[in-house]
Symmetry: C2
Subunit: 331 residues, 2 copies
């Protein structure tokens, strides 16, 4: 295992130390492993909390800041945070207007966030709403999920919903918007190589030198099928076909080509060009693009494509200022 | 070779198509393979041009925009752009106040930028100044360089000098500042794995499963030595020791932990924590941090560390607004 780490057991705490040092505008609770925006809780604003296993950086800690998340809980690599962490995060961002939990649909995450919401309600009466993101068209049910997995739409949802909360909208509206965004997004991923969880020390799965996995999950969970390595334009088709079969998309989508961690940006731009060409042939105009490694799977090589059907409101919220380590513009 | 590309011969042009589609605020000259900021040339402003081989994304094309570069020339992968490209870039950003060429110290780049400057001067009389970045302490002279190689300081220099040009400072001042920044920066890199140039199809070099290369260049050029894989805190020491031996650093540095492309962000934060700990023990305070894959070597796994001795002026220029695909803040 070749990794720039110290003891595999310390990866998450070491990385959180580095994050705190690199981003003094954030506040890291090292005991609970929660990344807070520096000015949390923001009085009168709905608090937005997410979290999940580590190994997907910059998601979620790198999306904490003005206009996006108020706090993110970091679990062990590819392992859900525990309810105590989520409770600490929720309490720490409660500005009196309630808190939204953004949860990717993995059994552990869903269960733990539910438990945390109950603990918080019982102890402090804080109102908590929850959105479960389940946008991955690759599989229904999987190793770690009942229903579809939550993948790339999560990044877009955190940005859009974070902007709405920043505007001071009430919890019910913010929660409704979150569900609307989840409903409007579809994703599909693929991998050229596996990744290695530090504590395991060996690759999560094996792929032959001439094979790729289509429909992979962000923890290396099996996808739909293994096929021979193919040119980017065929990969783009294999990812878009199931997305476009699953939902109608019209003009004005947000198109997100995400890197899995080990794939360089030059390749992601090649994929984006192919994705855009297919969308153009399908009469689907791209309103906004996001290309880069935003929701990774450690050093896995591969990519995912997310389409989000936007409208004027969603685009306005997408364009609104955001100041986080991972996404930043307009301020 | 597992890559998300089409024909290896088309990687650069395909990626530029993707870039143009993802960033409509830029203007891509596909014939000359030059990325321009959309409003170039900016009247009365010194134009800032850089460029180099592709495969280092987001450098340089991803640093084009307000507050940084006015244009960037994209060569073939790991190959210098040709003088015609640099001439087109220079002509396209000439707003009447002259143009600065930022050149990484590789023989081909230096020669071609020199030739372009002469062509431009002869044809249009545009005044061109040049800064050659040579901050890599790993080697003196190398396979592709007379003198030290130009690496991580390039990113910091493009940002700082771009901000000075945006303020309307004259060419001589901007060029002096560029030389001052180059003089203040030192870098050292390492690799855990090789990378594969698409046109070659096989890894640039071989590294055993338990080996890493210390002092690697950004094209996989040999470094100082091969050693057994070590924990991040030892890697941080191996990178910082030659940097701190080469120049005196005092309080107030910009500390840049750069990913080589295949190393995930979680590991870069682990390295940053170790680098910061060493600097603290050495009495060198970090004024600003930058952590991420900004100057990559395709899918190489590894990192580099750059220290830049800043002062109030450099920090003010570093903090100034920048709006590019790769670096963006304050606007």
């Amino acid at each position: 295992m070749k990794k720039l780490i110290n003891d595999p057991a310390d990866v998450v705490s070491d990385a959180l130390r580095g994050m705190a040092l690199a981003h003094p505008e954030l506040r890291v609770d090292h005991e609970n492993r929660v990344v807070f925006r520096g000015d949390a809780p923001v009085r009168g604003k709905v608090g937005i909390v997410s979290g999940g296993g580590s190994g997907h950086e910059p998601m979620h800690g790198g999306f904490v800041g003005r206009g996006m998340l108020d706090a993110a809980c970091a679990g062990e690599v590819f392992t859900s945070p525990v309810p105590d962490q989520m409770q600490a995060a929720t309490a720490g961002v409660d500005g009196g207007a309630g808190v939204l939990h953004i949860v990717k649909n993995y059994t552990g995450d869903v269960m733990n966030f539910e438990m945390a919401a109950e603990l918080v309600a019982a102890e402090s009466g804080t109102e908590v709403a929850t959105v479960v993101v389940d946008d991955d068209v690759a599989v229904t049910d999987s190793l770690y999920t009942a229903g579809r997995r939550g993948v790339g739409t999560t990044v877009l949802l955190e940005k859009i919903v974070g902007a709405a909360a920043e505007e001071g909208r009430p919890l019910a509206e913010v929660a409704d918007l979150a569900k609307r965004v989840d409903d409007a997004g579809r994703s599909m991923g693929m991998a050229l190589t596996s990744c290695t969880v530090p504590a395991a020390g060996t690759p999560t799965f094996e792929l032959a030198d001439d094979e790729m996995e289509i429909g992979i999950g962000i923890h290396g969970e099996p996808g739909r099928r293994r096929v021979k390595v193919a040119p980017a334009r065929e990969v783009a088709e294999m990812l878009l076909e199931p997305i476009l079969s699953d939902r109608d998309f019209t003009d004005g989508v947000i198109c997100f080509v995400n890197g899995m961690g080990g794939t360089p940006l030059i390749e992601l731009y090649v994929v984006h060009a192919e994705v855009a060409a297919i969308l153009e042939r399908s009469g689907i105009g791209i309103a906004r693009s996001l290309v880069g490694p935003y929701m990774t799977s450690l050093e896995m090589a591969g990519c995912s494509v997310t389409l989000l059907q936007a409208d004027d409101e969603l685009l306005r919220l997408w364009d609104a200022p955001v100041v986080t380590p991972g996404l930043r513009w307009g301020a």
